[in-house]
């Protein structure tokens, strides 16, 4: 036995076998083996937080000088806009009251009522060049679990793929391994939004499985369909930039521009479904 383990080739082969077993076991996102990532994430999280804070402050400092000229022009424009908005606010108050009355009358339940919003900061981006995954500053100790949807005020960002104790990994919708069941807001046709190898570098994704008779054109809004059980229905994903028609029945596809700017994303919200007990 001792002689076998003193053979270098046997040791190398053994390491390769162990690594291949690790690959197979860790392939499932919910596998317990993935908790070994705490070895890196726990000590790295405070450093990553500190770095993202410093980066933001440095960016703000230089941005201040760059923006000063633009700000003057914007200021004049905004003054004009304020007066328009003041008028709109008056109308909005009236509409809000009407809306509340109608909701009460219909006993309408808001689709997001059953979700808690957990605010998170992005503390690190994907370390390589292959994926569009980022790390957020909350993990399993904040009750975050894999497959929780991640959004911003504008729309869908992606979903939580793995959770460590103090941080989590989020797979964005432009990642090559991401798939989201979606719907065209106008025609209600069902489509599938996927990350694309060539489009992801431009911050875009593609829509597949477009029905042959679907009414789809550039500018159409795409939202989550609610099918699949991960993303709630009605979250805005983006808009159609162009439609590429092919002859096959489901061969057409569309290029989608997400509403979220992934290059400038700093803060996100994780949607956590409330426990059924607390709904009662």
């Amino acid at each position: 036995m001792r002689r076998i383990f003193s053979n270098k080739i046997v040791i190398v082969a053994l390491i390769i076998v162990v690594l291949l077993i690790l690959v197979i076991v860790s392939h499932n996102e919910r596998s317990g083996v993935n908790s070994v990532s705490n070895i890196i994430s726990i000590p790295a999280a405070p450093l990553q937080k500190a770095f993202s804070f410093v980066k933001e402050k440095v960016g703000d400092f230089f941005g201040y000088f760059e923006d000063s000229r633009e700000i003057r022009a914007e200021n004049a424009e905004l003054r004009q806009r304020i007066s328009e908005l003041e008028q709109e606010v008056l109308n909005f108050d009236k509409l809000q009251k009407e809306n509340k009355e109608l909701r009460d009358a219909l006993n309408f339940k808001d689709q997001y009522d059953e979700y808690d919003f957990i605010g998170c900061s992005i503390i690190a981006k994907d370390p390589g060049n292959w994926f569009n995954v980022f790390t957020i500053n909350r993990g399993s100790k904040d009750d975050i679990e894999p497959d929780f949807p991640v959004v911003t005020a504008y729309g869908l960002v992606g979903r939580v793929s793995k959770t460590d104790l103090v941080s989590s990994k989020v797979v964005s919708i432009i990642d090559i391994e991401s798939t989201v069941s979606a719907r065209l807001s106008k025609s209600r046709d069902l489509i599938v939004i996927r990350g694309d190898v060539e489009l992801r570098s431009k911050g875009l994704c593609r829509a597949d499985y477009i029905p042959p008779n679907a009414d789809i054109m550039p500018g159409d809004i795409v939202e989550t369909s609610g099918i699949g059980g991960i993303y709630p229905k009605g979250i805005i994903i983006g808009k159609v930039v162009s439609v590429i028609s092919n002859e096959g029945q489901y061969d057409s596809y569309a290029i989608i521009e997400p509403v979220v700017d992934f290059k400038r994303l700093e803060e996100v919200l994780v949607l956590k479904k409330e426990a059924s007990g607390s709904l009662e």
């Binding site: 190398v12 690594l19 291949l20 690959v23 070994v36 790295a44 981006k125 060049n129 994926f131 060539e198």
Partner: protein, 173 residues
């Protein structure tokens, strides 16, 4: 030995932290260099196969853990690239421009092409030429330049650790 282990752990953690944060700033055309591949090549050039293999495994697994995807692929690829380099390192002129450049270039091309192959083997391998041109090749060039900045400092650190070890061995003898 104790210093060696502590310094190896510090090196792995620091490089993992740099890879996931600071290197984002120096991305060119959306491609960032891979510090962990560069360090694997440097250590494989300077140290024994056993030490290189352990360090390569640590760097590779760190990369896997930082990515949050399947654990083990990078660990395996880093390990397999490190072993042949460390076996021939004494026959190489380690500080020559061409040796450093070509080894880093070939190591990056090997690791990243195989990783892309693994990634797309069950999906669509038709993307491979595009990925090679837009990710693998620029990253290989980037890493091959980065090694010139890091080779001497890392060599100095290992030289210092060797001196500490020798002094301690002499004292204990």
């Amino acid at each position: 030995m104790k210093y060696r282990i502590i310094s190896a752990i510090i090196l792995v953690f620091t490089s993992a932290f740099f890879q996931s944060t600071i290197l984002e700033i120096i991305e060119i055309f959306g491609v960032r260099p891979n510090l962990l591949i560069v360090l694997t090549v440097i250590i494989s050039l300077l140290r024994s196969p056993v030490e290189s293999g352990i360090m390569a495994l640590s760097f590779g697994i760190s990369m896997d853990l930082l990515m949050g995807k399947t654990i083990g692929w990078y660990g395996l690829l880093f390990f397999l690239v490190s072993i042949p380099i460390s076996l021939i390192n004494e026959k190489l002129y380690r500080e020559k421009f061409l040796v450093l450049f070509s080894l880093t270039f070939v190591a990056t091309i090997t690791i990243e092409t195989l990783f892309a192959f693994i990634l797309f083997i069950f999906k669509d391998l038709s993307h491979m030429p595009y990925l090679f041109g837009t990710i693998v090749l620029p990253e290989a060039l980037y890493n091959s330049i980065l090694i010139f900045l890091l080779f001497r400092p890392i060599k100095k650190v290992y030289g210092l650790l060797d001196r500490i070890d020798r002094r301690r061995n002499r004292l204990s003898a």
